[in-house]
Amino acid sequence: MKHKDIKILIVDDEVAFANTLAQRLQIRGIKVGIAYDGEQALSKLKKEELDVVVLDLKMPGMDGMEVLQEIKRVYPNIQVIMLTGHGTDKDEEQAKKLGGFDFLNKPVDIDTLEQKIKAAFKEKIERNIAAQ
């Protein structure tokens, strides 16, 4: 599996954070799109096939849980990693119940995030194979 095969979407209302994280992951060979709120994320998912979504929890308008629920309803194979500055154990539990792949806290170690993205991508591929 090559990094360049992985297409992800970062969803975060903190513009500077989303942009900087995207640049760091692009340097690591991952193709990255950005959405600054939940509605924008769902609209991008309609237009483009993506593997993994890195999703903030607290955002204006639709919050991360609502976006997660909608992604898993419409695109069950897309893997979602929650990345939040405000997460509680209860949030983590709820995200996992809704089908979230993992739950990380900000600030995150970039190598850890990269590994989680790779693992999430692998999970997506396996699910696609199993579904065929």
């Binding site: 903190e14 500077a16 954070f17 900087t20 994280l21 640049q23 760091r24 340097i27 607290k58 955002m59 204006p60 308008g61 919050d63 500055g85 405000h86 806290n105 900000k106 600030p107 995150v108 970039i110």
Partner: protein, 219 residues
């Protein structure tokens, strides 16, 4: 009376918890950006983008770090002022300053609901002699209630003025009011009445607007 005091203590702790949660969220976000920005500079060095050849990109990242630190300092300033309001039960203070720090600390909660929290302060208000910590709590109760009932893309204006020789805080929601939610804290109206009596003030409502009046400090 004992039950009311217990309810009040619980509600005040809940309020402080909310303020701290919002503050830590804000600071974590700024730190996350600083960390990623520093990391990005490290990545750039590793891939051979030197400061000599790519100075504009480095300068842009450095400016972003400075901006995040400045923003974090402003939040620390507001939290510090908010915390010191609890130092003494009574003090002489300017109501605009008190509301300034509260609205700043609640900005994120409002933003999450896409509600704009706006200020319209009368700059010529005299100081009042009262309890700023209790006042923070009271105003928070009304702001939280109005935020829970307003649809997104609404706004709440916090206005201060002099009305009939008293200092007045007007909390004016503007936008679609959603169907009344079940109150999360059923005793909140009783608590607010109890608190306003402690402050020797009044609470009145005009439609969706709430007006809190407080006596001016004796000179």
């Amino acid at each position: 009376m004992e039950n009311k005091n217990e309810d009040l203590r619980f509600m005040q702790l809940r309020f402080i918890g909310k303020i701290l949660a919002g503050f830590t969220h804000e600071i974590k976000n700024h730190l996350a950006i600083v960390k990623e920005s520093a990391g990005l500079m490290g990545d750039m060095i590793q891939i051979g983008k030197t400061a000599e050849n790519d100075s504009s990109q480095y300068l842009e990242i450095i400016r972003s770090i400075e901006e995040q630190i400045e923003k974090a300092i402003v939040h620390f300033k507001y939290l510090n002022r908010f915390s010191h309001r609890m130092d003494t039960p009574l003090s002489s203070f300017n109501i605009n300053d008190c509301l300034e720090e509260l609205t700043a600390l609640l900005h994120r909660f409002a933003n999450q609901k896409r509600i704009s929290l706006e200020k319209d302060f009368n700059k010529d208000l005299p100081s009042i002699n009262s309890s700023p910590a209790i006042l923070h709590f009271l105003v928070f109760n009304f702001l939280e209630d109005k935020m829970s009932k307003l649809d997104k893309n609404s706004r709440i204006i916090v206005k201060t003025d002099l009305i009939n020789g008293s200092v007045a805080i007007r909390i004016i929601p503007e936008g679609n009011v959603l169907e009344a939610e079940t109150a999360k804290t059923p005793c909140i109206h009783e608590i607010n009445d109890y608190v306003i009596n402690m402050l020797s003030g009044t609470i009145s409502t005009q439609g969706e607007e709430t007006v809190i009046t407080l006596p001016i400090a004796a000179t």
